[in-house]
Amino acid sequence: MKKWLLCVMAGILLVSGSFLSSSVNEPPPAGAASGNLSDAQLQAVGAPPCPVSGTCVAMPCPTPLQCGVVEAAPTDGIGPDQWVYLKLYGFSPSAILQVDYCSLKNANPSDRLCAFQGTQIQAIPTATIQTLGNGSINYSFQAQQNVEDPSSVIPCTGIGGQIPGVAGQAFQCLNLDGTANPDFKQFYCDQSGNNNCAIVLVNPALGSGNGSITPSSSNSVVIPLTFESSTGNCAQATQLITEGEAGIDLLLNAAAMATCRNGGAGVVVPFNTTINGLEALDQLEKGAVQMAFTDDAQGASQQEYMKRDGFLSIPIALSATTVGYRGQMSSQGTTVPQSGINLSSNMVAGIIAGVYSTPQSTDISKCTFGDYCQLFSSLNDQAGYSQADFLGAYLRSDTSGTTDHTLSWICKSPAMTMDFAASIGGSGIETVAGEEILLGGFYPGGGAPNGCLLGDQFPAFVAQNQFFGEFSTTSQQSLKLTQFIASCSSGPCDGFGLFNWAEAAYYGLSFSGIQNASSNFVAPSNESITAGVKTCTWDGDGVCTPDYTNSSQADGYPMTTVISAVVPRNPNLSEADKANIKTALTSILDATASGTSNSAVLPTGMVPLPDNILAMSRDEIANGVGNPSYSAPNPAPNSSSKSGSQNSSSNSSSRFSSSLGSLNASAAGAGKGTSKPAPTPSSSPTYGPFTLSASMSRLMLPATMVAGALLAILGAMMMIMSAARRRLDARVLSESLGEETQNPIDVGDEI
């Protein structure tokens, strides 16, 4: 009996073990995104923790986690045409993968419609990417919200779709007779439960192994996306989804939603964020609005308003001006996304001035291993990969803080030695002034202004090549960059643009590492931005002027910016208006400041204020709104700022006048470019102007011609005279001898 029981139990255990074993080895169902991977699981494949508002899933695999994991962010509450970053880890080297944008309406993974045709908004609806040698790759992919309107009778309003890898499903919107085709394959993506969409990543090498790009439960992973509600899931809140200049819309929206989630009434911000900072100040001056947002209060054009109207700038977040790009590089004929670019200020100048259309064009300088080398190529070399053949630039044509920041950085940052990529070794140094590059590019026909090119708007110019253009919004810039990359058929290419960090992140751009005053190449991050703001000089208006020559922050991002709300100090401001402004700004700071429960909601590209600057902002809100005698205190040199700002006064009550003097000096220097270090000796002439001098040799040729002719004539005459005399002599001789002689004339003629 006992033996019988043991046998039964052993049998049960055996069956259970087999079942468990088989269930472990069985591929997970499609829709593995249902649960995020844990940080430990991600760490096992060398991936960082899953981002906030992101999705982290593993590819289906016989051995869990051995076929790669995907981190995608943001995937929750994204904007209408926001981009999603995909970071892949643990894949096979050089694995070719398919990325699709698909509807989840059909439960069967193999029957789902996916976008296949580029549109004005979504230029690249499907992409093929290849992992690098370490099995990783970063890629950004654009989502597209397309809200279904059941009441609409207009056909073809959805996203044209087909099943990837299945032939015979050409896009056809209308029947030949013009009537709507019920078989038209289209789908919608919106926040309703009926139109869920997802990014689908297919590895054709998995599953059946037949190389099919048709998604299935065994070869693909689904990353569901949710779009933000038009009300931010908070009925009371004013939803701001319009596009601002410096990511203000993203910041305020996040603040509103955070407040909402806390059960608050929401932040009602009746301000137009579709205008740029300069126009916002203009409207504030005219009384059209009570608050303006800007990222360039230190700019010369905005300073005019600040000083003229006595405005007060209240920092609400930190951000950065970035050199965003979409890029490609190639390996053995295969194009892969560009993974990392470093740029010096001169390189940025060359790119945005449109004169730097290829990496090999003109970037020549002194190197440790030779007299001349290409700095760009040497700096960005990646073993085994060829860099882009063409560089493009797409700029803002209107006034923009990003333009002002970038030009100031180029004109003021010193030329420094740079260490090349490890695959190249050595280092090089630029000896060219960024001023020269800017003026040469924007004023090829002359007429350049004196000094460096500064200001918040590029001059009118004629694009010098096809990879260069101007646009008035970040979305247009981003779209052009996407189209530029998609059109690079003759070789890999990199397209660049100047963006606010948050805007660039929204559009899925990669960020260049740019060279700071310590000669380090730094990409934007929360840490580098927080370090970078320590180089600020603060004035009594609460305005930060960054010092691009300050080398005290080795890891600081050079073009750190301060997003601020500009408010009037006009004493005539009504108490109600004061209260509204204070409430709105306090709500924003409460929702976004570091250490608050909601700081995590800040969009990528926005950094919470350090404590010392936050304290200054709160002081300004409490005491400065509507107070003409108020002067903002300098941020205290606390732990978050003590090592950075050389201009941070130990006296927190440092007031308006001294700070103003500092600002004026900086502005004057900027105008004349005097902050730019003197050119290195090698670029300076070693002798001065000299005068033109002519020599007597100039007369040699005409003299020779004249002399030759005269001598020939003279000689001929002499010979003729001689012959004539001989003839005379012969005649005399003939007569005197009285005999016939030969005719001397014949002799003379012969002569």
Binding site: V355, Q360, T362, D363, I364, S365, D371, Y372, I429, T431, V432, A433, E436, I437, G440, G441, P444, G445, G446, Q464, P679, S682, S683, S684, P685, Y687, G688, P689, F690, T691, L692, S693, A694, S695, S697, R698, L699, M700, L701, P702, T704, A707, G708, A709, L711, A712, L714, G715, M717, M718, M719, A723, R725, R726, L733, Q742, P744, V747, E750, I751
Partner: protein, 312 residues
């Protein structure tokens, strides 16, 4: 040759009674006949010398206007080949080429110019093509890169330089890269004014030639701003000498010009003597002496030509 033969025939008339008259003999006969002690100077020999000299100078002018063009065209082909041979590794490495070596290719579409630019700007170098002033910036770098070209001789590459208009573009490709330029200024300056080749702190190139076809006392110049990102390169420390600035000849050619001039005169004298000594073998003398005379003459002309201003 006809002259010399006639001269000899003249001698034969008097001395040998065959109708020839010799100059010295004529004098003696004349003196004997008229019994007068005075000697008349016959102009035949001086006239002959002066004529030969004049014809030589005219031949030099022909050389300047005809043969230098051929030489320049030949030099251009040879220089262009350097870029396509292993020797091209030198100019394409970015190193400063030695004087006389190809330094760049200048392309001016509006003037239909595509010339190999030679390193150096003395008359010796500009005889081969446009010359890049060594004591100035290099094209593609910060500074004033100066290219001198001839206006009248050696193919006259810069004959129409003054036709370049503001805004027109051209390209210079060198070992440092390919650089685009846009004309920003044109003009003419006379001696005493600031030389357009003077250094500046901008990336530009100045094309220069003489202001007049002959005897120019000034320079026609075109200043063009570089539109590419300028690179860095070592700058020369010394101001260019006069002979490198376009309006002077190459002083290095002076000794050779003198020596070859003397040699040419001696060759003529020797030829005359040969004709007189071997008057019955005129054709032999002709065949032997003429190539030597012409070779020396062209050698002399070649050096004499280098004494002309480098931009003529």
């Amino acid at each position: 040759m006809t002259v010399l033969e006639s001269e000899q025939d003249l001698k034969h008339t008097v001395v040998e009674g065959d109708g020839d008259l010799g100059d010295g003999d004529v004098e003696e006969v004349s003196e004997d006949h008229e019994k007068k002690p005075r000697r008349r100077i016959d102009l035949l020999v001086p006239g002959l010398i002066i004529t030969v000299l004049g014809l030589s100078l005219i031949l030099f002018v022909v050389y300047v206007f005809a043969f230098t063009n051929l030489k320049e065209a030949r030099a251009q082909r040879q220089l262009l080949n350097v870029f396509t041979t292993p020797a091209g590794a030198v100019p394409l490495s970015g190193q400063l080429p030695p004087d006389g070596a190809p330094a760049a290719i200048l392309t001016i579409p509006s003037l239909d110019i595509k010339e190999v630019v030679v390193q150096g700007s003395s008359a010796t170098q500009t005889a081969l093509g446009p010359g890049l002033m060594t004591q100035a910036a290099r094209p593609g770098t910060i500074g004033n890169a100066v290219i001198l070209g001839r206006r009248t001789t050696s193919g006259a590459p810069f004959k129409n330089l003054s036709n370049l208009q503001k805004g027109q573009g051209f390209t210079i490709a060198s070992g440092l890269g390919s650089f685009n330029y846009v004309v920003t200024r044109t003009g003419t300056v006379q001696a005493g004014a600031q030389d357009p080749a003077s250094p500046v702190n901008k990336a530009q190139v100045t094309l220069m030639t003489s202001s007049e076809p002959y005897g120019a006392t000034g320079t026609t110049y075109v200043v063009a701003r570089q539109t590419n990102t300028p690179g860095a390169a070592e700058k020369p420390k010394y101001q260019p000498a006069n002979y490198q600035r376009g309006l002077s000849g190459d002083p290095a050619a002076i000794p050779a010009s003198i020596i070859l001039g003397v040699l040419y005169v001696l060759a003529i004298i020797a030829t005359v003597l040969a004709y007189r000594r071997y008057r019955h073998s005129i054709w032999t003398v002709y065949v032997l002496s003429t190539p030597i005379l012409l070779a020396i003459a062209f050698w002399w002309f070649q050096n004499l030509y280098l004494l002309l201003p480098a931009t003529t």
